[in-house]
Structure formats: structure tokens, C-alpha cells
Amino acid sequence: MRSINLRNIFLIARREYLERVRTKAFMIFTLLMPAIMFGFSVVPSLLVMSKSGGTLHIAVVSADAKLAQSVKVEILRSPSGAEAQQEEKLKQQKRRSAQSGDVQYTVDVNTDASEKTRTELQKRLDAKEMDGFIWLDGKAIAEHTTTYTGRDVSNFVELGKLQGRIRTGVLRYQLAKKGFDPNELQSFMKPFDVSAIKWEGGKASQTDQGTQLLAVVFLVITLYVTVLMYGVNVMRAVLEEKTTRVMEVLMASVSATDLMAGKIMGVGAVGLTQVAAWFTMASVAAAPGAFSLAGKIREANFSGMTAVYFVIYFLLGYFLYSSMCAALGALVTSEQEAQQLQFFVIMPLIVSVMFMMFVMMHPNDPRVVALSLIPFCTPVLMFIRTIVSPVPAWQVALSIGLMLGTIACVVWVCARIYRVGALMHGKRPTLPEIVKWVRYA
């Protein structure tokens, strides 16, 4: 009896699309979002670079001069492992570390490990003549416990590095004492690099874990923000038509289902346009050498399938959440009411984002598999899984099938709520009333 009128759906969607795309808000947000993202990724690293490239003046105190010297050499060694004994090399290295933002050290050696020295060093700390000292007496070496006394001990990253270097210095000294050839030691002590190679579908791709993490987070947040934002936009659009009473005029020529469908498609097309604009900008910005988050995404070596999955899960997630939002918009009578209830509708989406890290680390844990098949969580969680690990095709197919089924049910229920609610003004209906609408509409 209620047939679908494609022309009307198209007309509604076109109006919704054009009216939104033409607004200043759309233009500003489309341009501003990448700028904000760029700011978030670039500004902090710029800050780190400009801030911590300082020099720390410290002292190594040990009765054993050779031990102290060995630790000093380790501390002065660059992270890349180059020897820093020669003055020229040291200078080069200083320049390099200044660029990468590492802390540089000036190290004194003090062989008088007495209380008098300690008091004197403490005085020099107070006088700001130096930044810290490491105490390596016989007891400290025997117990593998040493102290770093400094004015600023809050930079735990730097302290961690210091810890490793002291350990290496002591080890090197002790091995040398046992008669190992210093050159042989050099090759023994060289650190190991681990680079991860992702194997998928018979193809290897090399990725930097950190980069990939960042890129996944970026994509997921984009997915989440767009689904959320455009879902809420649908709700606003419905509410606007209700409060301006356009609804009644429209209902005299368009069926409620067509109206809702057109609205969701029109707003969804705006969302896709925006995402497309962002990704176009990102790929331009990701030109070789560009320092930006977009570049990181390129580096992360995503397959073309990631883009396909992004669009699929964006659309599915959007249709699911926006139809619920449309019903919500029809239920409420004011923006304030809408905001209170909105939270319950989008909660599953928020919960999925909370599980993001866990899913990234254990993409094939049975619990994660189950969670990612729940239609309300699928858009975010299954999408993450497809990026970080090969997901069996049947799981992807099942998740899409389940989502389509759920969307059909949700749209059916929401269209009924919409149909009745869209013309209601005044009091917000109670839950039993809503159930009645769904049954009898």
C-alpha cells in the first residue's frame, strides 16, 4: 500500500544536500578540520623539538676511574650507536641530536666517592652550576642500585635512557675487566632492531608500528566523528522541520518513509562529500617529504581495501545511527530534549571507540570477534580489525549481512515512530506510547 516514490526521495535528498553544502559552516568545517588535525600532529612535535634540545651537565662519581669513564662514554654515545670518542664525531652527533630533539650531556668524572664530594656536588646543584650526578660506589655496583640526584627528575623518558646507558657502561667495563677484546665487545653490545613485517594474502608489507597505530586511530576517529556528526545532523534536520511545521506541508505530498529516506541520503551524501574532500586534501598533503599526519597514513601502507572498507562501514554505520537519530528527532520537541536522549542512541558507538586499543592489540581474540559482529559496534570494531590483521572473509560478510538486517529492522521501527512523531507537538511521548506507535502506525 505504501509504495516508494524514488522521485520524491531524490528531491528531498537533493534539497537537503544543496542547502547544507552551500552553508558557510560546511565550508569552514571542511577546511578547518584538516587544519586542526595538522595542528594536532605537527605542533606538539615542534614543541618537543624546540623544548628538550638542551644540554645537561652531569657528573659520574665512582672510586673506579675506568668504570666512571666507561659509563661516561655510554652516556655520550648517540642513540644510533656511533662512537663518540673523537671530538669531530661528537660535534656532528651533537648537531644531529639537536635536530632530533634529544638531550645532550656534558659529563664530568669524579673519582672521590666520599661524603664530602656528595655535599659539594649538592651545593653545586643548588648553585645551578650543574644539573645532576650519578653515584656509583662499590655498594651501588654490588646491589645494582644507583642514584641520580638532579634538580629535574620528571623527564622519565630521559631517565629511562640514562638507566640503560649506565647498565651498558657497567657491563662493558666488567666484561673488559674479564679480558674481552674491546672491539669484539663493540659488536656484541650493538642493539638489535626489530622491524615488523605484515603478511597478508601472500604479500608482505613493512610498517612502522607507531605509524600504523597513529594512522588507525586517525581513520577510526574520522569514521566515528563523521557517523556521529551526520547522524546528529539528521536529527536536527527532522527537528527543524517539526518546529518550523514544514513537516505537515511535506506530509501532504510525500510519505513519511520517503521523507525519512530522502533526508538520510541527502545528509549522508554531505558526509561523504566532506570525507572525500578531507582525503583529497590529505593525499595532496601527503606528497613525499611532507611532514604531516596524512604522510603517516601514506607511510602506513594501507591497502586499497582499507578505503573500500572505510566507505562500506561508514555507510552502514551512518544508516544505522542516522535512522535512529531521525526517529529521535521525531520524538522530541526541542534541541535540549534531543541532547539529553542523544547520548543513549550513540552510546554503542562511544563504547566501540573505548575498545579500540584492545581490538588493535588482539584483533582475533574470540571476544573481539564476537564484539565486532554486534551490528552497533561493527562499523568501528570490524573496520579496525580489517586494518590491523587479515579478517576471514566470512566474518566480514557476516558483519555486513548482520548490519544490513539490523538496519532494515531499525528503519522499519524508526519509520513508524517518525510517521507518528513527526506531527506531534507538545508533550514528549512515554515509552509505552512509542511502543503503541510502532504497533499501530
Partner: protein, 308 residues
């Protein structure tokens, strides 16, 4: 073609609609003949809007039947219907001309045709100068005109207007009134829903008065008026004599004095000519006029009765 002309534009048969326990429309039936103006009257909350919504499929009746253009109602007929709701509904931020064009398209017109007709209407109603503005920049009366145009762009055969003249100054109200009269001449059927009895009296051929969801009075307006009989008489006497003797007459049910004349209601079955003779016996009569009951009086009488 001719058989279609003879068919009623709209037929409601025993239509009922209840929301929860509240009965909005209760066993309502009426017909609207083609090419007529029909007044749907009733006090606030009588069920006028509920009735209209069921006519055009916004809501479904719980029971009863709606027939339009001679067949059971279906959505395909909506392109032949123009509906102006009581509460105006326009997109506030949309340009007027774009809005009108779009509404025309929704009713099945092509884009260019819709635009052409909007322009035509705009000039006829003297509002084309506002077409490039956003809707929320217009005055209420102007918005009303725009809404009026949006309702009529697709040349509907059946026009439904819920309080079409509210918010308009007399000049503009007259303008729209003339348009509606012109459309009736072209054979369109027009349904009015209003409280303004003077307009109904002036424009409508037949009416249905509803109260508490029930049809309490309906039919041809002139017949109804004559059915309610000419029992009101305005009398002006020469000079200003004491007129209380008229009020005391057995022929008179009640009497009210106004500046320069008195108005009496005849007792049931009383002959007005007998009253005239009895007055001329005592005084000179300058005016003795049998008044038709105004629709307002009928409205108050009928609705008052059903409430009591």
C-alpha cells in the same frame, strides 16, 4: 470525463479516529461537490485538523472510508490536492524562489515549469520582488502569500485551506479571496476550515459544522439559514417612544435595545406580520426587517446546545 465531473470531489463515510482514549473524529460523513466552496467549521479542538489529515492520508482513519475524485483515497491522488495547513511551514533559511520551485517539483512539476509558474503567481500576488530573499526575512503576511502560492502551483483540483487568511491585512486577505473565487470559477473544489464566520458566509456554498468530532450541522448554506428560519426582526420606531410593550407581547420571545433600533426574537410559531400589525396600532414604524440568522448565531446556538 463527464461522469468524473458529476462525482463528488470528496466523500467521507462514517470516519472515526481516536488518539488513545480521546475521540478526535466520531462517525463523520459529508460530501463535497466539485466546483464548490465548502466550509468546515467548528470550535477549537473540534476535530477539523484531524479530519483534514485523514482526507489526505497524513493519518489513517480507524474506521470509515475516504473517497476522493470518485475512488478510494490513495497517495497517487495527492498531486491533484493542494493543502495549506493551519500552521505555516516554510524553510526559514531557503530562498523564496528556490523554495517555491522545490515545492512545485514535489507535486510533480518539472523544475522549469515550477519556476515559471512561481514567477507568474508572484507577479499576480504582487510579491515577486521578495523572491530572491530568504524566507525568514519576510513578514508574516508575505510568508502567508508564499505558502498560498506553494499550495496552488500544481493547479490542484481540490484545494484545502486551513485558516488561509490569518495574519493578513484586509487588503491582502481580499486579494487571496479573489484568487480563490477565480479558482472556483475555473471549476476547482475548495475546502475552507476557519473560525471566521463572516468569510464562510461570504464565500461558501455549503458547510459542515463539527463539534467534539461529530458533524452537528451540514448542508447547503442557504438551506441551513432558511431552516433556522427568520425569527429575528429589527424594528425602528419613529421618535423614541417606550418600546417595552413590544417585549411584553406574547409573540416575542426576547428583545434587545440598541442605538436607534431594537431587535426581537419571535416566539415559536409567531407570525411576524401579526407583530407588525400590533406595533403599527401603537406607533409609527420606520423600519421592520426580517433578519436572516447570521452563521455566527447558528454556530453559537448549535454548539451551545451540544455542549449543554
Amino acid at each position: 470525463m463527464n461522469t468524473l465531473e458529476l462525482m463528488n470531489t470528496l466523500e467521507l463515510k462514517n470516519v472515526c479516529k481516536a488518539y488513545d482514549k480521546f475521540v478526535a473524529v466520531d462517525d463523520l460523513s459529508f460530501n463535497i461537490a466539485p466546483g464548490t466552496m465548502f466550509g468546515l467549521l467548528g470550535p477549537n479542538g473540534a476535530g477539523k485538523t484531524s479530519t483534514i489529515r485523514m482526507m489526505i492520508g497524513i493519518t489513517m482513519p480507524d474506521s470509515g472510508e475516504v473517497r476522493m475524485f470518485g475512488e478510494p483515497f490513495h497517495r497517487g491522488q495527492l498531486n491533484r490536492v493542494g493543502y495549506l495547513p493551519e500552521e505555516r511551514g516554510l524553510y526559514p533559511k531557503m530562498k523564496v524562489i528556490e523554495q517555491l520551485t522545490w515545492f512545485g517539483e514535489l507535486h510533480g512539476l518539472s523544475r522549469s515549469e515550477s519556476k515559471r509558474r512561481s514567477q507568474e503567481w508572484g507577479e499576480r500576488l504582487d510579491i515577486a520582488q521578495a523572491f530572491q530573499k530568504k524566507t525568514n526575512e519576510l513578514s508574516k503576511g508575505m510568508q502567508q502569500k508564499i505558502q498560498f502560492i506553494a499550495t496552488l502551483l500544481h493547479e490542484p483540483d481540490f484545494i484545502i485551506m486551513d485558516e488561509p487568511f490569518s495574519g493578513l491585512d484586509p487588503l491582502n486577505a481580499r486579494l487571496l479571496e479573489d484568487e480563490l473565487l477565480r479558482l472556483r470559477k475555473l471549476g476547482r473544489t475548495i475546502l475552507f476550515s476557519t473560525h471566521r464566520m463572516d468569510q464562510v458566509e461570504k464565500l461558501c456554498d455549503s458547510i459542515c459544522l463539527i463539534n467534539q468530532g461529530k458533524g452537528v450541522l451540514q448542508g447547503d448554506l442557504r438551506q441551513i439559514k432558511s431552516r433556522y428560519g427568520r425569527d429575528t426582526v429589527q424594528i425602528a420606531l419613529e421618535g423614541s417612544p417606550d418600546a417595552s410593550f413590544i417585549g411584553n407581547s406574547a409573540l416575542v420571545k426576547s428583545m434587545e435595545s440598541y442605538e436607534g433600533y431594537i431587535q426581537v426574537k419571535l416566539a415559536q410559531g409567531a407570525d411576524s406580520q401579526q407583530l407588525l400589525r400590533s406595533i403599527t396600532d401603537r406607533s409609527r414604524v420606520n423600519k421592520f426587517e426580517l433578519m436572516e440568522p447570521s452563521l455566527e448565531e447558528i454556530f453559537i446556538e448549535v454548539v451551545g446546545k451540544t455542549i449543554a
